[in-house]
Assembly symmetry: C2
Homo-oligomer: 337 residues x 2
């Protein structure tokens, strides 16, 4: 927290240090051509006055040293780790972070993007739940950007960071088959056809190819639900109480998998004996004994760090796109044997 009621300006610092305001600006922006002596004097005055640059004024000419983050919602513990990683990346820099939350609403999301743009952030980390390639390209044309959770390996104007969703789910299928499961269903998420969350689409592909590879092409069954507990539960009730009940489920995210465990319990279906369940994200609560949920870890913290670093590189001038992948690991727990 800062000291005075009326914030000192660059002019106050200049007077205090006995130099011109250009000089102050130069040391503040690390411009070249300042003597060590000048720098020291200015830094002392900045400290003494508790000066902090006015970001608005600065944005009119230069950079705000702020990174914007767009998060789909705020209830998933995995974002805590992601943000922690992002923080690791900016920690030693002069950049700070502001976040906008779209709350899974397209309308709010547009507002969030505009707000970030209006505020002249220097770059955006876009954790994309649902986004279209052309919209992303458009945005990326205006501002450095790295996109998380959106597979578009050919994107030229922005970077991406993903887990290999397809391979990860494929391995989950392999594991379940190895454990003797056959009737394996995937619980995925429904959105408008073209707007399909690309992570969910990739996970579905991983499931389908995995089933084919294991000679279970006939048994492929994808159930698509909304993203609330109520919609998960409704889909699951139909699926698990209906005929031809599966003996295993792969869920596109842990929230869905935990709902599956909940619904199974209500129906007296024993996990894992009657039903094996695998989630995605390795949400910390999956380790709780009452959940004991096997899940796919995707190194959220690393992703955050990587996103921050990539964005800073882009802001620094890199234009060649980078598309990175985090390591995925199937964490086995009691929900599958």
């Amino acid at each position: 927290m800062t000291r005075d009621l009326k914030k000192p300006t660059i002019l106050d610092v200049a007077h205090h240090a006995g130099v011109s305001k250009s000089a102050v600006s130069k040391v503040l922006t690390d411009a070249y051509g300042v003597s060590p002596d000048l720098r020291r004097k200015v830094e002392e005055s900045v400290e003494a006055l508790g000066y902090r640059p006015n970001l608005g004024a600065r944005s009119l000419r230069g950079s705000t040293y702020t990174l914007g983050v767009i998060l789909p919602d705020v209830g998933n513990p995995i974002f805590t780790e992601f943000l922690a990683g992002l923080n690791d990346a900016v920690e030693a820099t002069r950049y700070s972070i502001i976040v906008g939350v779209s709350q899974l609403s397209e309308r709010i999301e547009r507002g969030v993007i505009d707000t970030l743009l209006d505020r002249k952030v220097d770059g955006i980390v876009y954790v994309a739940k649902r986004a279209f390639n052309d919209e992303l390209e458009l945005l990326a044309g205006r501002i450095p950007m790295v996109v998380i959770g959106h597979h578009s390996p050919a994107a030229q104007t922005y970077d991406t960071i993903n887990t290999d969703d397809k391979a990860a789910v494929g391995e989950a299928v392999d594991h379940l088959v190895r454990m003797g499961r056959r009737k394996i269903v995937m619980l995925s998420v429904a959105v408008e056809p073209e707007g399909r969350l690309s992570v969910a689409a990739e996970r579905e592909r991983g499931y389908e190819e995995g089933m084919q590879r294991n000679g279970l092409g006939e048994d492929i069954r994808v159930v698509r639900s909304g993203v609330t507990f109520a919609t998960y539960e409704a889909s699951l009730m139909t699926l698990l109480a209906g005929p031809d009940r599966p003996d295993a489920m792969i869920c596109w995210t842990d929230a869905a998998a935990l709902a599956a465990i909940s619904t199974a319990r209500k129906l007296d279906i024993i996990v894992p004996d009657d039903l094996a369940v695998i989630g995605f994200d390795n949400n910390p609560t999956s380790a709780y004994a009452q959940n004991d949920l096997a899940s796919i870890d995707q190194e959220a913290r690393w992703m955050g760090k990587c996103a921050g670093e990539a964005l800073l590189e882009r802001i620094g001038g890199r234009t060649k796109p980078r598309h990175m992948q985090s390591r995925h690991t199937l964490i086995l727990r009691g929900s599958v044997t």
Copy 2:
């Protein structure tokens, strides 16, 4: 998403509409004394050009129409609801929201506050996990503020919104006693003495007074833990595996209560037969069958809406403090009988 690569300025709008830029500014800021005709022309041009004011420039003279929110972390689903409520409040206004996340680190939190201040937000909603009265007063002296989860009913310079934590926990004690429980322990959170989270302190008081009221003063036992799953579990292992095991627990937050259920399960302690558990927050995951956690609901969405409205009032000029209370409800579930 906006259209052009180089954003139009107020001057572009003025030219397009055939008026002066003062005129444009006036309709934009709803200043008085603009003819309906002028207004219409300007609004058409704004629309046609996709003009959006530069917030930096605007902040140099006027207001940014942005509200800053400080969140302690991002993993608690209750914040989703809180943010939704906040969104309800600003929905029909011209204000938008940016959030800073302190990640439970005091150092980061200070950075977040500075960032918000530097960005000239018009007001701050401070969801305070740990904060000191004098720091809050200082901050509130500089910017309109409403504080959530911090009991200081005498605060003059800012508003507060809380649940009646003391009464809520007291009722939980009463209920447990009514159900025949006697050895009731409270799981709370440890922080530096003076920095004690004021919600946790209030909840502890509610517990202690409730125990006294029920003639169980002798049995008062408060265990204070860190706020991670690992620290919860360590404290719980000691408590539940040790001598004189409690027959009921009230946990200061659902995360702790879910950890209690997890630890009990690992120790083959049956919930609720051997141990009743009550949490706080009514986190949506509490309703999952495997958790089935009784919890105290505190109307998070209402709190968010109320916070937004109060902050807008303050920004609008109100200086008289308001201290509001949300309704608390003990939601009974299978973890207590």
